[in-house]
């Protein structure tokens, strides 16, 4: 079995979450590689969409910007941010990838500030399209590094809506029914959300990691079912695709 690094593990785990014949909002970085990998394995008809207007590029070369020319190279469509976000509002976009500095048990994300908003301790880039993606896509997949400072009981600033404060809260706030956080992919584990409580739940461990380790790196109580699966390691074929075809210059991995 081939050796692999953390980025490669994240990419492979993320890739496996996406179903074929769906449209998926992609940002630069890991989500892009995950989409490219999914397309080359179990989801050949997965459609990568970029919020500034590119839909269905060949991803032959990896984009360096969400509006860059590679997001619409040999694409079906090169339109606009309004067009894409409105397609999401109409229910066309199944998945959206998100990241952030902090996540809480309900999948709410902070990508804005630590500390007081008007005089922050740390200023992050801000929502970008994340708030829209978290509002309008059916399912969001968060990709994070695990750690207590990142997995917090309550985000310091709620940039992007997860399940807010629990069941029914999204609908009450006016967000589309049936939408919301779906998966959290980290270097330690794969998590989902409990149907009833809408709280984060451990689904599977990354190879060699224990549930205790995951809980220890999580700043809130994680729902841990009795039997937790273990993710398959990245296969030789996945690693070959990643290294030889998708990111041969190792810009991201």
């Amino acid at each position: 079995m081939t050796e692999y690094n953390k980025s490669e593990l994240l990419i492979c785990t993320a890739a496996r979450q996406m179903a074929d014949n769906t449209i998926c909002f992609i940002g630069t970085g890991i989500p892009m590689l995950a989409a490219a990998l999914a397309k080359r394995t179990h989801a050949p008809n997965l459609v990568a969409a970029f919020e500034f207007g590119g839909v269905g590029p060949d991803l032959e070369k990896l984009p360096l910007a969400v509006g860059g020319s590679r997001t619409f190279h040999r694409a079906e469509i090169a339109s606009s941010i309004c067009d894409l976000m409105e397609a999401a509002a109409r229910g066309y976009v199944e998945y959206g990838f998100l990241g952030g500095a902090q996540i809480d048990p309900y999948g709410n994300l902070n990508a804005t500030v630590i500390g007081d908003h008007d005089r922050p301790k740390v200023r992050f880039p801000g929502s970008g399209g994340a708030n829209d993606i978290g509002s309008l896509c059916w399912k969001t997949i968060a990709i994070m590094r695990h750690g207590k400072k990142r997995f917090v009981p309550k985000v310091g600033f709620l940039t992007t809506a997860g399940y807010l404060d629990g069941p029914g809260a999204r609908e009450q706030a006016g967000l589309p029914s049936g939408s919301g956080p779906y998966r959290v992919v980290t270097d330690l584990a794969l998590m989902g959300y409990d149907d009833e409580t809408k709280r984060m739940k451990l689904l599977a461990l990354q190879p060699g990691v224990t549930a205790e380790q995951v809980q220890a790196e999580t700043g809130f109580e994680l729902m841990i079912p009795d039997d937790v699966a273990v993710n398959d390691e990245p296969t030789d074929e996945e690693l070959r695709l990643l290294r030889e075809e998708i990111d041969p210059d190792h810009l991201y991995t």
């Binding site: 970029f50 020319s69 309004c82 976000m85 008007d118 880039p125 809260a169 706030a173």
Partner: protein, 324 residues
């Protein structure tokens, strides 16, 4: 409805639709007339201290960087700024010209957080109000539609809403909760295009980002262009005119105007130069040196292009462009 929330952020730009209509009637040129001028003229003529500015697309893609550098050269300050930004807004903040920022995303994408933004916000130098990317585009769209607001389904339930200047409303038909976004009109909009005629009828290749909406939301619109083409070229494919001449105030011929960012199908980004910037941006002194050398230290866009490596470098970047 008493249970409907309002964002607590300030409305940095206040314009009444009816006032704008009158302004447009008095000030915008409706006939065909040549609007070709230099960066210097366009910026000096239409930008004023304290004006509200918007720049499209991102700093690293199809962005009117030659115009932005000219704003820095002329030192037009106290700006209010709309933005998702990479190099363009970063440069304006680094040069100390920005007071207020309607922020959506401001960072270096795969290169991470902007230390320039961090310093400006953490010191309190720049005041921010929060929006999402689509919300900002929709605010332009509201203005482009001649409306004081648009309802949307983003930002609901979040601090992004709370620290915005939006309001919650109820749909008059369904009763559902929506966010009402106030229209955003720019005093000056800057957009870089692939080609246009001397009157300003402009075409963009590839994604149009939010160019269509922002252009229509701009009181004064300055476009820079890779190429000025004969009017007949525009008339041959009128469906390609994404920016109509009647909303354009100035046309600036700026080949390489998006550098160091990319211009889709024309040239690839100057990765070396961008890395240089990101490196120097790490501290205040570094970025000040960058601005001194590359912006204030260049007379105009031609001079900047020369410093970047002249025709030879430009040809290299053109050769690396994404092809159709």
């Amino acid at each position: 409805m008493s249970n409907l929330a309002s964002g607590r952020g300030a409305l940095f730009q206040k314009e009444k639709v009816d006032d704008l209509r009158h302004w447009v009637r008095e000030n915008k040129p409706k006939g065909l007339m040549s609007k070709v001028m230099s960066e210097q003229e366009a910026i000096a003529k239409f930008m004023t201290e304290g004006c509200y500015l918007g720049v499209e697309l991102y700093g690293s893609v199809r962005c009117p960087m030659s115009l932005v550098r000219e704003v820095v050269r002329q030192g037009i300050g106290n700006l209010r700024l709309a933005g998702q930004g990479v190099l363009e807004n970063d440069l304006l903040i680094a040069a100390g010209l920005v007071k207020k920022l309607d922020i959506t995303y401001h960072g270096y994408e795969v290169f991470g957080i902007s230390p320039v933004l961090r310093r400006a916000c953490e010191s309190g130098e720049v005041e921010t109000v929060e929006w999402s990317n689509a919300a900002l585009a929709w605010r332009f769209k509201a203005a482009a539609m001649g409306l004081p607001f648009l309802p949307v389904r983003s930002m609901l339930g979040t601090d992004t809403f709370t620290y915005s200047a939006a309001k919650e409303i109820e749909c008059p038909f369904t009763g559902q909760k929506l966010v009402a976004l106030p229209a955003l009109t720019l005093d000056v909009g800057l957009i870089h295009v692939h080609r246009c005629d001397e009157y300003g009828n402009a075409q963009i290749d590839g994604i149009s980002g939010f160019a269509s909406e922002m252009a229509r939301a701009s009181k004064r619109l300055i476009i820079s262009t890779e190429e000025i083409v004969p009017h007949e070229e525009i008339q041959k494919y009128p469906e390609r005119t994404i920016i109509p001449y009647y909303i354009v105030d100035a046309v600036v011929h700026a080949p390489g105007g998006a550098l160091p960012g990319e211009m889709p199908y024309v040239y690839w980004r100057d990765e070396k130069h961008m890395n240089l910037y990101f490196e120097q941006a790490k501290n205040a002194e570094g970025v000040e040196q960058y601005v001194e050398k590359w912006v204030r230290g260049t007379k105009d866009h031609e001079d900047f292009m020369k410093k970047l490596g002249g025709a030879e470098r430009f040809e290299q970047l053109k050769a690396q462009a994404t092809r159709r």
